[in-house]
Structure formats: structure tokens, C-alpha cells
């Protein structure tokens, strides 16, 4: 008996619902729908801190806009990608297929990001890359549904090659881990260095993540180039710089790198990193009103100083905002949303940037000098630098 009542009540409710639904115009119904954003970032493992910084940056921007973008609430879905390429497809599918997110955002690890790009393309989901620097993402792999708020590995390396030659180096030796990011960086450095009349006399590489650098330092000491270009990050970066200093090479041969050598590692280097010159699309001491406001907002929200990853997360949200504005918040208008992201000028803490046709930022690359635990800007290594986007047909 009770069940029957409940059943009848349910039917009544459904009818009322149907009638009410029919009376509200379709557009207004959609205006209430939140935009679903899938954040697929590392929450554990070596890159956990980077994932947190990106999330913080993204949420800071949404928060600054009053919690909505183009009048829509933002509903977050998160997955820890563990920086594991073998789980990447499954993880991306969780967000894209199960949660049906409108926009997929991720990640740090390039191998994972390439797998995400595949899933996003198959399902025609809008995809924003807030870090992974693999050149391929905006070259052979480029697609209308994908944009990047960070950089390509080629960009800082190319800028560094140009700056190294301008700073008087005629010969250089390169050293990196034998993996894609390192090879792409070395190729970028070599290209610019050669264009400026320099010569890379030796390219050296060691298997990832081997950190026994001593044999290479001995080779560098015997080759005596004007400059050394390396691509290392994290623990390997710290160890390399410490060994380079201990071998007495720092005073004799200039050491250059893409910014990751000295980002988040200066404290661990214990003073050995002081004065190192690196190139990157963000730096401390920019001292622009835009950057200062961003940094203050970040510190007051999270109690720590923002880094380049936080900026990239912040700008990923800005890109999404630009896209949503153009379609009145209706994320289902995919083509218009994507076109608007590519057409936008992003008012980034790093300075304004636009996207290339391939979807990679056209941005200034700063030359920075390590002072204390900060990388202070000392100039612009390359202005409005665009990745060549070789192999992209967009």
C-alpha cells in the first residue's frame, strides 16, 4: 500500500517536472549547467608538487572571476595520473567518457599528455595542456581541439642558444638525459647556436635517470668549450650542478640551460647554483602590475610563492575563459570555442601571449640569473618566439 503511494507520488513529480521543464526556454536551462572541467594531473610521485601548483593556479583564476567563467559555474573532476603513461589512456577515458567533461586539462609528463591527446581527439573533447613540453604535441600531433598554455621544449632551448652566442660563446658541448625532452631541447639549442655562428663540438647523453656525471665532466674539461648546455630537472639537476661546481668547471666554462635546471632546485644546490643563467618563459622579479597582482593573490590563497607551473595553470583557465566568453558559456559549441581560444590575447602574469595556429604560445623567453632561491629576469632572450610547428597542417 505504502509502495503504491510512493509510486503514485513519483509519477506526479515526474509529470510536474516535465511540464515545468517544457515551460522554461531551452537556452536558460543550459545556462544553469556548470561547465565540466577534468583535471588530470599528478597528485603523487615526483611531479606531485607540479600538479598541485597547476591546480592552484587554475582555481585561483576561476576564484578571481567570482567562481564562474562566462556566467557558468565550473565543476571540477580530478584524476591522479601518477605520471604513468601506461595508465594514461584509461585515466583520460575516466574523465572523458565516464564524467563526460567538456574540457580536459593536463598534464606534466609528456608521455601521458600524448596519450591524453589521442583520447581527446577520438572523443572530440577540448584539451588544454598546462605543462608537458613535448614538441610533438603542437607539431605532428597538433589538432584543432588542443591548445597549450605552457611551452614547447624547443622554445627555451632555442632562446638559450641564441643568447649563449650573443654572450660570446663560439663553441659548446651539450649534455642531457637520453630521452625525448632532452633531445628536443638540445636540438633547439643547437639550431639557434649554429644560426648565430657557434659550433656544437660534442653532443653527449646519458641514459635516464643515471646521475653519474663524472666521466662527462672529465670530457668537458678536456674539450674546453666556451659553454656547456644541459637539460636536467629535479634531483638530476641538483646533482649535476653540484658536480659541475666541485669539478671547478663553473668558473671556467659557462653553464647554460633551459629554466628547469634551476626551478625548485636552487635551495637543494646550497648556493652552488648562484649566478647560473637559464632561459624560460617565466621568471621572478618581472615586477609588472599583472605579475605582482597574481603573485599576491597566490600567496594569500595558498601561503606559498607561485612558480612557472602555477602560471601555466592560471593561463590554462584564462584560455578556457576566452573560449567560453565567445560562445556565451555554451561549451557544446566546440568549433567556436576553440577558434576563440586561438584568437585570444592572454593577459598572463608572464606577459601577454597569443597562440599559434598549432596552439602553442607565441611568447617572450626570458633570460634569468639565479640569485638566492630565485631566478631573476635579466633580459629577454628571444622576443615573441613561436615554435616552428614543423609537420602541423593547421
Amino acid at each position: 500500500m505504502k509502495q503504491q503511494v510512493a509510486g503514485r507520488r513519483g509519477v506526479m513529480r515526474a509529470i510536474v517536472g516535465l511540464v515545468a521543464g517544457a515551460m522554461i526556454p531551452l537556452g536558460a536551462a543550459q545556462a544553469a549547467d556548470p561547465v565540466k572541467v577534468g583535471l588530470m594531473l599528478p597528485a603523487t610521485g615526483t611531479f606531485a608538487a607540479l600538479g598541485t601548483a597547476i591546480t592552484n593556479g587554475f582555481k585561483q583564476y576561476v576564484d578571481e572571476q567570482g567562481g564562474t567563467l562566462a556566467g557558468r559555474e565550473i565543476q571540477f573532476f580530478t584524476v591522479d595520473d601518477e605520471s604513468d603513461p601506461s595508465k594514461a589512456t584509461e585515466n583520460a577515458n575516466r574523465l572523458v567518457v565516464r564524467d563526460r567533461v567538456d574540457v580536459l586539462v593536463g598534464t606534466v609528463h609528456s608521455g601521458v599528455a600524448l596519450a591524453m591527446a589521442r583520447v581527446a581527439r577520438q572523443r572530440d573533447t577540448t584539451f588544454i595542456v598546462p605543462n608537458a613540453g613535448a614538441d610533438d604535441l603542437t607539431r605532428g600531433f597538433c589538432a584543432p581541439n588542443m591548445v597549450r598554455s605552457s611551452f614547447s621544449n624547443w622554445q627555451p632551448a632555442y632562446a638559450m642558444g641564441k643568447a649563449a652566442a650573443e654572450r660570446g660563446a663560439k663553441t659548446a658541448v651539450t649534455l642531457t638525459w637520453n630521452y625525448a625532452a632532452g633531445q628536443e631541447a638540445v636540438a633547439g639549442f643547437k639550431e639557434a647556436f649554429a644560426e648565430a655562428g657557434g659550433e656544437v663540438v660534442r653532443e653527449m647523453a646519458l641514459p635516464f635517470p643515471n646521475v653519474e656525471f663524472q666521466p662527462f665532466l672529465t670530457e668537458i674539461a678536456s674539450l674546453r668549450p666556451d659553454a656547456v648546455y644541459v637539460f636536467f630537472a629535479g634531483g638530476g639537476a641538483t646533482r649535476f650542478v653540484n658536480d659541475y661546481v666541485a669539478a671547478g668547471l663553473k668558473e671556467r666554462i659557462a653553464l647554460y640551460s633551459s629554466g628547469f635546471l634551476t626551478d625548485g632546485t636552487l635551495e637543494a644546490m646550497g648556493g652552488n647554483g648562484e649566478g647560473l643563467i637559464t632561459a624560460l618563459h617565466y621568471a621572478e622579479g618581472l615586477d609588472t602590475p599583472r605579475d605582482n597582482a597574481f603573485r599576491e593573490g597566490y600567496v594569500s590563497r595558498y601561503g606559498i610563492v607561485p612558480d612557472v607551473y602555477a602560471v601555466q595553470g592560471y593561463d590554462a583557465a584564462q584560455l578556457l575563459h576566452a573560449g567560453l566568453e565567445a560562445v556565451g558559456g555554451d561549451a557544446s559549441k566546440k568549433a567556436e570555442l576553440r577558434a576563440a581560444m586561438r584568437a585570444a590575447t592572454i593577459d598572463s602574469p608572464r606577459g601577454n601571449f597569443t597562440l599559434s595556429a598549432a596552439g602553442n604560445p607565441i611568447q617572450d623567453i626570458y633570460l634569468r640569473e639565479a640569485r638566492g632561491t630565485e631566478n631573476i629576469v635579466i633580459g629577454i632572450a628571444a622576443e615573441a618566439l613561436a615554435d616552428p610547428a614543423t609537420g602541423c597542417n593547421l
Binding site: P207, E212, E219, S222, T238, L249, R252
Partner: protein, 288 residues
């Protein structure tokens, strides 16, 4: 390659090999004498390095930290054996792998909770912070030479302990026939706990000594585990001298591989291993 460069590369090889020996010696003891495949060995190395970092930030001195860390590591190994590893002796290798792999995950997570995931540096003690000029452009850090010296002393000490002392005699006897040693009135369980604790201490000491050179970072244990097994297998399971010889061979193979055939730098170590095993399938020096 001129002569100076060549000689410095030889020094690099020796220095690297000796450090590898220090890490691998504990593994060869535990593997050879107790018959345990200890995948968590790299974690003990990692724990040692983090101990050096934490203790140094408290005491302000690496040498004091190491002196403090050695008994801590020994006690840790002893307790771990009594709680967990004691259950493994009569079980097959698969269960050993399961437990020790589980320990890797547990130790990594505990490390993450306790110290976080940042990269940390450990300062070289002031008295060893000098560099010795070897050529016009190349200095050699004194600390690396000191570490090599310590490794040599430990190699000799370990050999002496196992071959020339009463404890060593009991350990060797225990590895041949566990039941017979027990029948003779020796507390074999206690003995094994000591061997295991020595193994843990060697790994942790390697981590502590290497901390200023390698810096301290998540996942550092995994990087030494595989190379340690390579050394144990090449050297002959359970042989301390074998581990020393194998570590030096690997030191040379790795160093000169990187310089002479950089394209195959990742392979040279394993090619050497394959060659040695074809020549002597039981390792260079058999257990003895």
C-alpha cells in the same frame, strides 16, 4: 683522449665502482648467506640518504649524522628482521619478492609523508669540502676521494669480519647448514638478525655517504637496486670479494662506455654482465 684525461677517467671508474660496492655488499650478504631476495635493499639506501638529510639539518654536521645513523640503521634492520624477514626463510622466492616489493611502496609513501617530495641537498662536511686540481681545467672533489677510502676500509673490514672472526665463522656455517648450526647450540635466528642488520647498515651507510654527492630525492632507491643486483650476480652470490671485483668492473664499464660509445652507454653494463655470465655462469668468485 690524452693521458691526463684517461687517468682521470680511471679515477672516476674506481671511485664509482667503490661506491657501487658499498651499496651491493649488503645485498650480497643478505642474498648469499640468508637466501633472501631483498628488493627493498634500494629503500634502505634511500632511508640512509634521507636520514643523512634529516640528521644533518638537526646536528648541522654530516659526520655526526653518520655516526648517529649507523646504530639507528642497525637497530632498524634488526627489528625489521625480527618482525618480518624471519618469516621468509622457509618460504619460496615469490613470497620474498612480494613482501620486499611491498616494503618498497610502504617506505616510499612514508618518506613522502614524513619529508615530502622535494629534492634536498646535504652539505659536504667543511673539512672535506676542498677540491684537488688534477689538470688545468679539472678539479677533483676531496669528498669523493674520502668516500672511496671509506669504501675500501669497509671492504677490508667486511672481509675480515666474515673470514677471520668467530661471528663470521658462525655466519658462514649458518649459510651452509642452518639446522646443523642450530644443533650445535648456536642461536641461528639471532645470528641471521645480525647479518640482516649489517646488510641494512651497509646500504644505509652508502646512502648517507652518497647523499652530498647525489642529493636526496624521491625514487633514489630504485636507481641503485638494479645495478646492485647486477653486481651481486656478476661477483658470485654471497662473495664479498666477488662483489668488490664486480663493482670495479661495472665502474670501468659504465665510465668508459659513456665516453667511448655514448650511443650504447645504457647497454655496456649489461653486455659486460652477459659476457661474464657466459664465461662463468656462477659469477666471478663463487660463494665461499
Amino acid at each position: 683522449m690524452d693521458l691526463t684525461t684517461f687517468l682521470i677517467q680511471v679515477l672516476n671508474s674506481l671511485q664509482y665502482g667503490l661506491l657501487l660496492f658499498l651499496v651491493a655488499s649488503g645485498l650480497t650478504l643478505v642474498f648469499g648467506i640468508m637466501g633472501i631476495i631483498n628488493l627493498a635493499h634500494g629503500s634502505f639506501y634511500m632511508i640512509g640518504a634521507y636520514m643523512a638529510f634529516v640528521l644533518t639539518s638537526m646536528t648541522g654536521n654530516l659526520i655526526a649524522s653518520i655516526l648517529l645513523g649507523i646504530p639507528l640503521a642497525f637497530a632498524f634492520g634488526f627489528i625489521l628482521e625480527k618482525l618480518l624477514f624471519v618469516h621468509l626463510y622457509k618460504r619460496d622466492h615469490l613470497e620474498q619478492v612480494l613482501l620486499t616489493y611491498g616494503l618498497i611502496l610502504i617506505f616510499e609513501e612514508l618518506r613522502s609523508l614524513a619529508v615530502g617530495d622535494d629534492v634536498h641537498g646535504v652539505a659536504i662536511p667543511a673539512i672535506f669540502s676542498a677540491s684537488i686540481p688534477l689538470s688545468e681545467t679539472m678539479n677533483y672533489p676531496l669528498y669523493r676521494l674520502v668516500v672511496s677510502g671509506v669504501c675500501l676500509v669497509l671492504a677490508v673490514g667486511l672481509y675480515f669480519l666474515i673470514q677471520r672472526t668467530r661471528l663470521g665463522m658462525m655466519i658462514r656455517a649458518g649459510s651452509h647448514d642452518r639446522d646443523m648450526v642450530q644443533a650445535l647450540g648456536i642461536n641461528i635466528n639471532h645470528l641471521y638478525a645480525i647479518v640482516f642488520a649489517i646488510g641494512v647498515t651497509m646500504a644505509a651507510l652508502a646512502g648517507m655517504l652518497a647523499a652530498p654527492l647525489s642529493s636526496v630525492y624521491p625514487g633514489m632507491g630504485g636507481s641503485v637496486l638494479i645495478i646492485s643486483f647486477v653486481i651481486v650476480v656478476i661477483g658470485g652470490i654471497g662473495s664479498v670479494w666477488g662483489a668488490l671485483v664486480a663493482a670495479l668492473i661495472i665502474g670501468f664499464a659504465d665510465t668508459f662506455g659513456k665516453v667511448l660509445v655514448p650511443e650504447f652507454a645504457g647497454l655496456t653494463v649489461y653486455l659486460v654482465m652477459a659476457a661474464v655470465l657466459l664465461w662463468r655462469p656462477e659469477g666471478i668468485l663463487k660463494k665461499g
